[in-house]
């Protein structure tokens, strides 16, 4: 039988759990996930591992122009409990040849930098939608050979754009197809 004293005891136990920001993140995510799906670029789609957990999902980008056209690139996105004080963790799980994405999947996008000195890094006014558009633009407008993460790819581009194109296509053929 459930007695009032038992109920009170249980309530007190629940309150001693250390404060976490997870409930704040989850509240923000309800709005942001909806906004993201409504404003998704036409070349992108989103896949949730678990429908009840909006904090972990895969962004699939299929560029319709540029060097990576025809490839299918998957990004694992993890919105940690400290969101939106910190940016989501992003890893590219598709191997590709790109000056701003390493072969291990680390992504170099100013928006995703936790600490910034130039004011271009993460800011809590950013939303998931900005992250999605940023990743999407890495294949077009934000592609940057000047400040590369994959130095080898940027160097190759500098010496021969044709060779760069060939390597990109090789990677797309080997790793970025369905």
């Amino acid at each position: 039988m459930i007695t009032l004293s038992q109920r009170l005891k249980r309530k007190n136990d629940a309150e001693t759990v250390p404060a976490s920001r997870a409930p704040i993140r989850d509240r923000l995510l309800v709005k942001e996930a909806q906004e993201m799906s409504q404003m998704l670029p036409s070349s992108c789609s989103v896949l949730y591992h678990n429908e009840n957990d909006l904090s972990k999902f895969v962004l699939i980008v299929k560029p319709t122009e540029g060097y990576w056209e025809g490839g299918i690139f998957r990004f694992d996105i993890d919105v940690t409990e400290e969101y939106n004080m910190v940016p989501p963790l992003v890893k590219c799980s598709t191997k590709l040849w790109h000056p701003n994405i390493s072969e291990n999947g680390e992504v170099c996008l100013s928006l995703l930098r936790k600490h910034s000195v130039d004011g271009m890094g993460w800011s809590p006014i950013r939303r998931l939608n900005d992250v999605v558009w940023g990743l999407h633009a890495l294949f077009t407008d934000l592609l940057n050979f000047e400040d590369p993460l994959n130095v080898e790819a940027a160097d190759q581009y500098r010496y021969s754009q044709d060779n760069f194109k060939i390597t990109v296509l090789e990677y797309v053929r080997n790793y970025a197809k369905e």
């Binding site: 923000l28 910190v86 890094g121 809590p124």
Partner: protein
Amino acid sequence: MADENENEKMDNENQKPEKMFTLKKWNAVAMWSWDVECDTCAICRVQVMDACLRCQAESKKDSYGKQDCVVVWGECNHSFHYCCMSLWVKQNNRCPLCQQEWSIQRMGK
């Protein structure tokens, strides 16, 4: 001089009956808005005059009712919840909206 004044008085008295209309009823309408640069906290996306997302969540949990969640204005005139902003400045002492160095201009409701 006295004559002139008298004439003016006469004129005024003569004009009185010629009034075309009189004001019988006047309904005044006033508009108002918050006197702040931005009325939504850009960090938690809740109105600055309401409690921030965290305070709302916590007050729900311990059912205390009213929470003391104040607003803070920076020198740049941008406003946020004090709770939200104090978390952010620990990481980066800039206004999230304009990236200016953050310094508090005033606090309150």
